[in-house]
Symmetry: C2
Subunit: 387 residues, 2 copies
């Protein structure tokens, strides 16, 4: 085995946001050296890595030069220059996940075609080279409203996705290649994180469930395990494994899925990295997703993905109407609640809906955890010092 621990071995991480920051807890725990590249001088990863470089993740030369400094290259965000990763692979550098996987995932049109080719169930869709083509198709009544519009590239955190319910909704869309996807009347939105090593060892985490606000179309809680029937959970995990194997994926793959009214499972989309839906694992799982990612890309044995206790995650996003230096109102109140852990990402400035942190609630009894999660949600507020 390669000697990773307290050695000269180095992992390059493209992206220095909160996912990278939580990954660094694990590289510190194992004393593995890291280099981080991020465009922001204030990136959450700035401390805790061995070497921080400010730079453009989409710039070919920057990424290439940066990757050459390490033994293994990984990323915590999809928006990185895939051509540079390809070149690094050509030079014999281990790049996990691979450039080929990243390219397929960066473009939603390619991603959808990949599912079809590999007999992976997904919502029906049509691909358009431009927004104008899509508009023409609607005008010619080939494409029927309602549908879900998704930008082929650049979508992130709900950006680049829009539900088109009436003709006027077409006016707000951004230009460029896109897909129109059938609207799935789903029972549940589920996710499964799959870990896979170069040697092919594969493990899935339990299925998690996104609980939506009863009226606003917004995820409020990520709940592990999902409150679904065992045979449905089993189907979801098997399908997630199939997707990971089809990509010949190395590292973590977060697979987002719909559970239809008939209990079919359809793939929504995937992320080739640790994922918001796996944050609960830090407190709840035997092996958290960040440690698992490090194990996977270093071809170390994968850890146990089971949960010690039930876990619920609540995102901390900037409250509407507040912009400026952040303040976490009532954080001491939620810290007094049983099994509650806040994670503060370290962004100095808040703005409406910005992801500033998350809170995990763990409990042996998931029903009790759910009650506490609601109290958490109703107590803490991400505001600014000056309104």
């Amino acid at each position: 085995m390669k000697d990773y621990f307290s050695s000269d071995f180095k992992i390059a991480i493209l992206g220095g946001g909160q996912l990278g920051k939580m990954m660094l807890y694990e590289t510190r725990k194992f004393d593995i050296q890291t280099l981080v590249l991020d465009p922001s001088a204030e990136a959450p990863c700035k401390i805790s890595c061995n070497y921080f470089q400010q730079g453009d993740l989409m710039d070919y030369d920057t990424v290439l030069d940066f990757g050459r400094k390490a033994d293994v290259v990984t990323f915590e965000i999809e928006g990185v220059n895939a051509d540079a990763l390809k070149q690094l692979e050509k030079e014999g550098k281990k790049t996990y996940p691979s450039a080929a996987t990243l390219e397929k995932i960066q473009n939603k049109a390619i991603q959808k075609k990949f599912y079809v080719k590999n007999a992976i169930p997904t919502a029906d869709f049509e691909i358009f080279d431009s927004l104008q083509d899509l508009k023409n198709s609607v005008r010619e009544e080939k494409l029927k409203i309602p549908f879900v519009w998704k930008s082929a590239t650049g979508g992130y955190d709900g950006k680049g996705v829009s539900v088109i319910k009436k003709i006027e909704d077409l006016n707000d869309l951004s230009e460029g290649g896109c897909i129109a996807e059938e609207m799935i009347p789903f029972k549940n939105e589920l996710a499964v994180i799959v870990a896979r090593r170069p040697s092919g060892e594969i493990k899935t985490y339990p299925v998690v469930e996104m609980e939506f606000h009863p009226t606003a179309n917004q995820v409020e809680y990520v709940i592990c395990p999902a409150r679904i029937e065992e045979h449905v959970a089993e189907k979801a995990r098997k399908l997630a494994e199939k997707v990971s194997a089809a990509f010949d994926h190395v590292g973590l793959l977060a697979v987002e899925m719909f559970q239809t009214k008939d209990d079919d499972i359809l793939i929504n989309e995937v992320a080739p990295r640790p994922h918001n839906s796996g944050h609960y694992s830090i407190e709840a799982s035997y092996t958290n997703q960040f440690e698992q990612h490090i194990r996977a890309i270093l071809d170390l044995p994968l850890g146990n993905t089971d949960s010690k206790v039930g876990g619920i995650m609540v995102n901390l996003v900037g409250a509407e109407g507040y912009e400026g230096e952040v303040e976490y109102e009532n954080i001491e109140k939620i810290m007094a609640m049983d099994g509650v852990t806040p994670h503060i990402y370290g962004k100095k400035l808040t703005r409406p809906f910005r992801k500033m942190g998350h809170v995990t609630i763990v409990n042996k009894d998931l029903v009790e955890a759910r009650k506490i999660a609601e109290k958490v949600k109703n107590s803490i507020k991400v505001i600014s010092k000056q309104k």
Copy 2:
């Protein structure tokens, strides 16, 4: 409440070893700024803090100047200049634990007298101002062999403690003030970690047990919960609370105890900081000891000290006969075992018995955890690259 999170608030940590390093995982999680002072430029805490300073922890001016840079001062090692802490307190700086507590604990003679004064049961002892005084007492047959010799100051990790079984054992002792302590024929060596806030809120962790090697007089496993009767555990926790309150302690206090053959509990010694006997808590507890220390010194609500699962800790110490650049032989084998997490402290050089890391084994079934812990112990070896 003071605004600690993503703010300008700063904690100064005296000492930058593994305890500080694990504390920094928690300050990073909460995005609280930290300053670390350590004599070594290679200290495990060097990265992950916001500001690192190389300096002498026993130097009055260094500690005073360093402490002045922060809002709260704490330490991860007892060997720091207590007079500087006193001065910081005079200047209105919050210093937790307090200089007064630290002074009592730094000197074992004072510590023992403190127990007597506060009616805290401890092994009988006699204080000597010098080694010669002790030797005279033995010669005059006032002090009977066997007994336990403890240096009044400077003891750490088993140094400064010696079991005197025959007259020749007196030759190997270091000079200076010391105590002679009655040998306790104990059933078990136990420990309880107590967390206490300035406001007085107090919580104890479950009792842990040190399991010794059947022949060598060496702790092999720290086991949580201790395999003792509930009424004994309850007595140990109550006594630990009493000790913490007697010290008017703020922060963590690790209380090491003997369970005698008659199930009496005697205090052995205390450490006013996170402790080796609490490392299991990172994986096993709802709130780990490092997060709890931070909560306590910031007067935040204390977290749940219960365990999610059974936990066992094995220290990784340098193997005999190896000195030089460290290598963790078979680490990938133990990582393949269920519920096993290695912690590598980040010391580049190993030498016999140096604490290089630890391994936690968690399992819902403590008997199963104990079996896996033995496999871990028999597999991993801390060696050097060149012998």
